[in-house]
Amino acid sequence: MSVVVLFSIILLCPLAAFSVFSLLSLAGRNSPRQDLISTAAMLIAFVCSLLLFVTANPENPDHQTLTWLPLESVDFSMGFYFDSVTAVMLLVVTIVSSLVHIFSIGYMHGDPRYPRFFAFLSLFSFSMLFLVVSDNLLGIYIGWELVGLCSYLLIGFWFEKKSAADACKKAFLTTRVGDVGMFIGMMMLFAKFQTLALYGEDGIFAAVSDLGAGDLTWLSIAGVLIFCGAVGKSAQVPLHTWLPDAMEGPTPVSALIHAATMVAAGVYLAARMFPLLTPDSSLVIAYIGGITALIAATIAIVRFDIKRVLAYSTISQLGYMMLAIGAGSYVAGLFHLTTHAFFKALLFLGSGSVIHAFHASHQAHSHHDENGHSRGSEAPFASFGIDPAQDMRHMGGLRRKMPLTFVTMLIATLSISGVPFLFSGFWSKDAILVEVLYRAMSWHSVHHYILFCTAALAAVITAFYMFRLIFMTFFGEPRNREMYDHVHESPKVMTVPLIILAVLSFPIFNTIVNKGFFENYVKTPEQPHVGSPKHAHDSQSQGVLYAQAGLSVAYAAEDAHQHHDDHAAGEHHNPIHDKAHNIVIPLSFVIVILGIGLSALFYYWKKISAEAVAAKFRPIYNLFWNKYYFDEFYNGAIVAFTVASSRLFGLFDLRVIDGIVNGIGFTVRELFSRLIGWVDNTFVDGLVNWVAQITLSVGGRIRRVQTGMIQNYLLIILGGLVLLILIFRSL
């Protein structure tokens, strides 16, 4: 079957599933077997993408377009672009999505809005797939916003919960901020190239390489702006605060959207934009990625909510990927995306299974409860506003109760902590470290050395907190008896997806997560050789240009050379590269041992008391516990701003950022509304009314002249005559 047909099937199946639901409900009827419809649709899509992956040949990308808007001077075409990346992404998305569908059948069972959930899942899958296959920025942006919408709808799925309602709005608005940046970037590109198409001979990528040297800065700015979108969606610092809150949504949603696919879309975007990334913008991306990786990891250490831990770990892993892309190692980034998608989804589903079990037990022993999950509020005992069913401090020893969940999650954990050779996570993470170090060594770039250390450190912490999670959840003695007693393993429909995902964490069985295969399958596109003719790798010209870009000539030379043998024979037979490799392999052993060992000392053997350490390093602990005061910073900054300036737009900022950050700020709204309303009434409307007033009062005056005394009238005649004579005399 041709690519087009397969694509259309892949896209249409989920869309159809959603339409069925929406049409039925518009007619006021319920869609009883929505779960089956959606799941079936997703499976079909999966089969098709598998077919694509197997049959289609990524060497010669398939690219088809048709005009979307009939404009002459500018080009608005829609189309799809199929290359190895697309194939991989399609596969990843469809696999995870199908599995999540299946899992949800069990997890969401008995929810009052059961069908709606699946409908939304289908809509999401459609949007995500659309985003992946589309060949131009506009299409990507469309899919981009649509997945945002679905994430909004699904986070707020249990909208009766205030926390959920707030979280979904926060998510939408925060990402929207990034999207606006992305849109501005798009406008810049559009203004320059009169098109938003990426591929093809008049696509942006083709045009970029014809740019003059003077455009380098411009291009960097555009690249960073586009990347803003990714910052929002992939929850990079400083727009990361929405993702942890997004955990208010049902756990399968967290697994699908906020771990495997949507948040990874940011990375995908960065990767797609790879040919636009100048050294400068790359560096920005890399730094943001690195910082995010570290910050998120450190925050994760001190979380107790099992989903929050995973959320922060997601953020930090995404940071990794960004770092990779920014460091110019396209393949490693995408590879980590792939592996991460599977094991993170697995982790979330696993945690979901635990939470499910706990809720079940909770229901078993506290009967006063109707609407399924939507009652995190009434906890039987004190907890920092954490849903008790997600609080790891209530868990422990679960490995006996739910062995399957335990084993699968353990595998995922080993994978994410990068335990050597056996697990996919190791390979991808290792690849990233190697790439960064390699850049650092080959370009003698301090930046990249710093980044490398950050990444390594983050890796240690990752291992630490992941095992902390495992130990606290599955090992030791149960901390909460009566809940523990009611807990039992989840049904097949939930465990099977876990098993499948677990299998997908072993490179041996799966080509898709096999580094060797992946590196051959996915090819790094060229980055802009701004100013120089296409495909020219003359190191001199490169040097000059990158010197203009404010980088060392060596960097430039190496880079050119690098590109050269990229095209010759991949990155392997490159001395520096091998050197980096040889450093990283042992290092990752150290990392893993360090991380796991520490965490074991804390939480397994209990040799060291976490509390004690926390007490010792109270300030740091607080820093972590309070998530680096990001939310507080936003609010605080704004409050300070208000106090500082009572100016209208100051207040407006207050209102909006507050709305973005935590969407509460009711008092502020009051204040703001009064001000704006006041301005509108006083200044704008007031002016008009004022004129009206004047007119009326003048009317009144003139009226008063009409005294009713005839002789005054006569006087006025006289006056009028004299006046007229005087005036027109002088004229």
């Binding site: 009409q706 005294t707 009713g708 005394m709 005839i710 002789q711 006087l715």
Partner: protein, 103 residues
């Protein structure tokens, strides 16, 4: 005396006196007198002009002044009638006190 000026002076004075009376008198009758003064000033003008300006055989000026006198009489009649009506309604003929219509 064969000069236009004194006539004009007189007539202008009459006119001004008339206007003055009309503006200042607090009694309808005196106002009527003022009006008569104005009209007579005009009549005087016409007569004088026809004597000094227009050719001797053209007496239209004097005719006009006669018309003026007639009209003055008619006006006076109507005026007095209205004054009576006013007196009936307001039991005063002072224009200051007949100011119910205003604004």
């Amino acid at each position: 005396m064969n000069d236009l000026t004194p006539y004009l002076v007189i007539s202008t004075t009459l006119f001004c006196l008339g206007i003055f009376a009309v503006l200042t008198r607090r009694n309808a009758i005196s106002i009527l007198m003022g009006i008569e003064l104005i009209l007579n000033a005009c009549n005087l003008n016409f007569a004088a002009f026809s004597r000094f300006v227009t050719p001797p055989d053209d007496i239209s000026g004097q005719i006009i002044s006669i018309f003026g006198i007639v009209l003055a009489a008619a006006e006076a009649a109507v005026f007095l009638a209205i004054i009576l009506a006013i007196y009936r309604e307001f039991s005063t003929i002072s224009p200051d006190e007949t100011d119910t219509l205003k604004g």
